[in-house]
């Protein structure tokens, strides 16, 4: 093929191509005749919704899966990749969404042990010299002698990439590499990678769902939907609208709800100096004080792991409050059942099967968590009657368009979007005064994301006070009336949305304030 011809001029980058790659798991065809071509020295973006087949494709390329049919070409020659080691031998490496470094070892140690040919006895002096020489050749700068646990997320991600370069992988697959980075870190890392591809040192295939990163850094793009290639081309020839239409297809996406104006709303939820520890009994959140008014969405932005999950746990009764008070409408509030009902506090979060649902219980039962001890499901104190529970479930399933074979299906058998919709039905069908939401759209498809965000906005317009914690800055920018930034367990920045912008919030997330 022509790919081989393009690799001339001393360029070290390699090109990879898949030809008619198909992968079936039982009856489910995860990849259907997928052919993509990543030319040497290009920065190629792989777009698609969750479940579109992106991970399956790269796992086939890396040798984690064997494709049912189809072939892979490396620099124009057919390559057999029975396992990841074979992929590495071809110069193909992958950087995963989550770090794979050993936290207690230094950067230098992590690099050396990653080598497959590391000797039994390591001559550290010689290795250090070799490492320094190697680092001279790359634009990435990472402190070598600090344990990895002491590095920032951006530095860890750079080290992951360095590791692949050190192993001389010249075709890098990046799986949503910026999901754990601040916007500034993301720009830095992608910028450096872009420069290396331009120099012909590297080829990149990046899985992403952020259009911003595609338009700013990628040369080419391939869009997958339901296991098929639905579009590809030069990024500069395509608009964001083109790409999103390819990704979503004909599915109707709910318009984002309009934001109605409120005037001088009453103070609803007040957090006064909250302190709590994490599981290792180290301070996780410190002196969190926030106010949320009726009809307001307070968005808390921040890079994952800065105390947001602990804050949500404290507010929903999953973690002990060490100090501080929660007030609702000036009255002290404890997250226990009676008060949740009295103050009409509701909430939902990412990974509902882990956080707010019981996987093995049925859809009907999961939908009844808020109502099982009240009439009509509990006609008299202590008693529980299943028929009204199933009736309630059938109504909610219809109203919230939950796709389930029956009310008795264990909720774990539903797809992610439908689980979240079932939980939404449970939490939003009543009269909501306070809503506590954490990463509600994490890992969901476009249709569900639009639906869920519109529902949140509806509740705001109805006058609910909403605390929204999200690691997705775009979500905060779309929904919040007021934005606060959480960094190292503290609120480091707060501003009305009208008076701030992405860059300012991004800087605050990185700890510059």
């Amino acid at each position: 093929m022509s790919v081989a011809l393009e690799t001339g001029s001393g360029s070290r980058a390699i090109g990879v191509e898949t030809v008619g790659m198909t992968k079936a798991f039982g009856n489910l065809v995860a990849l259907d005749d997928v052919s993509i071509r990543v030319t040497p020295g290009s920065f190629h973006a792989l777009l698609g919704e969750n479940g579109a087949g992106k991970s399956t494709l790269v796992k086939c390329m890396m040798g984690f899966y064997q494709p049912t049919s189809g072939a892979m070409l490396v620099n124009g020659e057919e390559a057999d990749v029975p396992n990841p080691r074979a992929a590495h031998a071809h110069g193909i490496g992958m950087v995963y969404q989550h770090f794979t470094l050993v936290p207690s070892l230094t950067a230098a140690e992590n690099l050396v042990i990653a080598r497959t040919d590391a000797p039994r006895v390591i001559d550290w002096k010689a290795e250090r010299r070799a490492l320094s020489a190697f680092l001279e050749t790359t634009p990435f700068k990472v402190p070598l002698d600090v344990p990895v646990s002491g590095l920032s997320a951006g530095e860890k991600q750079k080290l992951e990439i360095l590791k692949q370069l050190y192993l001389d992988q010249r075709f890098l697959i990046l799986d949503e590499p910026t999901s754990v980075l601040t916007p500034d870190e993301a720009d830095e890392v992608l910028g450096l990678l872009r420069a290396m591809t331009e120099a012909g040192d590297l080829t990149i295939l990046m899985i992403t769902h952020k259009f911003r990163e595609v338009t700013a850094y990628a040369d080419d793009v391939t869009v997958l939907r339901r296991g098929r290639v639905v579009g590809s081309g030069r990024v500069r020839d395509l608009s964001v609208e083109d790409m999103s239409r390819m990704m979503i297809g004909e599915t109707e996406i709910r318009e984002s709800a309009e934001r109605t104006a409120h005037q001088q709303a009453a103070l609803k939820l007040e957090l006064a100096g909250l302190f709590a520890d994490d599981d290792e009994e180290l301070p996780a959140i410190e002196a969190i004080s926030l106010k949320v008014h009726a009809g307001e969405i307070l968005g808390i932005a921040g890079v994952s792991g800065n105390g947001q999950s602990e804050l949500i746990e404290v507010l929903s009764g999953q973690r002990m409050l060490k100090d501080g008070r929660i007030f609702i409408g000036k009255e002290p509030y404890e997250p226990e059942r009676g008060q949740m009902d009295a103050f009409k506090v509701f909430g939902f979060s990412e990974e509902p099967l882990k956080n707010v649902a019981v996987p093995r219980m049925s859809v009907a039962e999961n939908m009844a968590f808020r109502t099982f001890d009240k009439a009509p499901i509990s006609p008299f104190r202590g008693w529980l009657s299943p028929p009204p529970m199933r009736r309630q479930a059938r109504d909610l399933i219809a109203a919230y368009r939950v796709k389930t074979p029956s009310t008795e299906e264990p909720i774990e058998n539903l797809s992610g979007g439908n689980v979240q919709r079932a939980i939404l039905a449970r939490e939003l069908s009543g009269d909501v005064d306070i809503l506590i939401v954490a990463n509600p759209c994490f890992g969901l498809d476009f249709a569900s994301v639009a639906e869920i965000r519109a529902q949140i906005m509806d509740q705001r317009n109805r006058g609910a006070a909403i605390l929204l914690v999200s690691e997705d800055l775009d979500e905060i920018l779309e929904l919040a009336d007021t934005v606060a930034v959480m960094s190292e367990g503290r609120i480091t920045y707060q501003s009305p949305m009208a008076e701030t912008d992405r860059a300012t919030i991004g800087h605050a997330m990185a700890g510059h304030h």
């Binding site: 489910l28 969750n50 479940g51 339901r226 599915t251 109707e252 929903s316 009764g317 999953q318 226990e336 059942r337 009676g338 008060q339 949740m340 909430g347 882990k354 956080n355 707010v356 649902a357 019981v358 996987p359 093995r360 219980m361 039962e365 009844a368 968590f369 808020r370 099982f372 001890d373 509990s378 202590g382 008693w383 529980l384 009657s385 299943p386 199933r390 059938r394 399933i397 219809a398 368009r401 939950v402 796709k403 389930t404 074979p405 029956s406 009310t407 008795e408 299906e409 264990p410 058998n413 539903l414 797809s415 992610g416 979007g417 439908n418 969901l444 498809d445 249709a447 569900s448 639906e451």
Partner: protein, 371 residues
């Protein structure tokens, strides 16, 4: 995968009958897997018998005759089943909360001891029925406190409930020994250290026409009541949520600690009742005979019944039958008494392994489930 909403309300058409069918299909899994496990452990045990040079066919026919073949063996079986029902409930109720309590034997021992001890000052002047009521109450309270402590330790201090309940069994035995060999020893019985007998006139009689004491009937009724408690009350539902996902229960503001302690206390009361019946219907006094292993066989019963109180009754009778046949097997096949224990052990092991198959076999899954 296909996670869109082009067909709104697709599920609504599935009416009542469909729901019922679904539930049937789902529950068939809970029948088939334990039955297969039973058969498989029977096969394994046959291999064991072959290795000893004995005939499995002969063994199983002895088990049949010794446990279920005659009305005499049936009664023997039922007498052994009664305490198993109670001790199995001691495992089944906390299991709803995800707690694995294996120290029911301790609650049984203490329950038996407490009911024998409280009877001592009443012997001779108190009429039988109120005395038995007080004894039963004392036994239940002792068991409830014992296992309730395990639940409290788990919730408030994070102590592993399985280990704690097992170790507390040894403490319970020591408490029994301390008193029956000391302050409460009946001096008129020189052979076996025991408490003073409650007197044969005060003991619980048998169900008319049989040799089986009333404990069996109480156990069956208790299973029905606790089935309703766990499946038709808000308490049972809350316990199920907490057992299925602790974080979800907390997010619903459910009183997780109280649920744990109360469930454990109910469990302990059941085992305590087993101790009471052993004293009031069998031994007439508390001594080391209380430590007969019913608490431990109860674990097996509960697991085999998948912690369902209604299924506990037949399973307890089944295992009671195996235990009852031990004597016959010993006499006829020249096998040691412990042979049936080997069978029980194998059964338990296979049952534990079979737990991993739930939800894995596609024939029990509904076709419509969107994965």
């Amino acid at each position: 995968m296909a996670d869109t909403t082009e067909t709104p309300g697709i599920a609504v058409q599935s009416g009542m009958s469909n729901d019922l069918l679904e539930r049937l299909r789902r529950s068939s899994e809970y029948v088939v897997i334990p039955l297969l496990a039973l058969v498989f452990s029977g096969v394994l045990f046959s291999v064991f018998l072959f290795a000893l040079g004995k005939s499995p066919a002969e063994f199983f026919s002895h088990v049949w005759r010794g446990g279920f073949g005659t009305s005499f063996s049936w009664q023997n079986t039922l007498v052994r089943a009664a305490p198993l029902i109670f001790t199995a409930l001691c495992v089944a109720i906390p299991a709803r909360l995800g707690l694995v309590i294996i120290g029911g034997e301790g609650a049984l021992v203490l329950g038996g001891f407490a009911s024998a001890a409280i009877a001592i000052p009443m012997i001779g002047w108190m009429p039988g029925l109120p005395m038995l009521a007080i004894m039963a109450f004392a036994g239940m309270v002792a068991g409830a406190i014992w296992i309730g402590c395990v639940g409290a330790l788990r919730h408030y201090r994070g102590v592993n409930e399985t280990i704690a309940s097992l170790l507390m069994f040894y403490i319970a035995v020591s408490i029994l020994n301390f008193f029956v060999e000391g302050a409460l020893r009946d001096p008129s019985d020189p052979n076996k250290p025991s408490t003073k007998p409650i007197g044969s006139e005060n003991m619980i009689g048998v169900i008319p026409g049989t040799d089986v004491h009333w404990g069996l009937l109480v156990g069956v009724l208790l299973c029905g009541v606790l089935y309703l408690v766990m499946n038709r009350t808000t308490f049972g539902f809350a316990a199920q949520i907490a057992g299925g996902n602790l974080r979800a229960a907390q997010a619903q503001g459910l009183p997780v600690g109280r649920l744990m302690v109360v469930s454990c206390a109910i469990a302990g009361a059941c085992a305590g009742l087993a101790g009471f019946f052993e004293v009031a219907a069998i031994h007439g006094k508390a001594n080391a005979s209380l430590i007969a292993g019913y608490g431990f066989t109860g674990i097996l019963v509960s697991f085999l019944a998948r912690h369902n109180p209604l299924v506990i009754v037949p399973v307890a009778i089944f295992l009671g039958g195996i235990a009852a046949s031990g004597g016959l097997v010993q006499r006829r096949m020249d096998l040691p008494d412990a042979t049936v224990l080997v069978l029980q052990g194998l059964l338990f092991l296979v049952i534990l392994v079979s737990e991993t198959f739930y939800g894995r076999l596609s024939i029990f899954k509904s076709k419509g489930a969107a994965q």
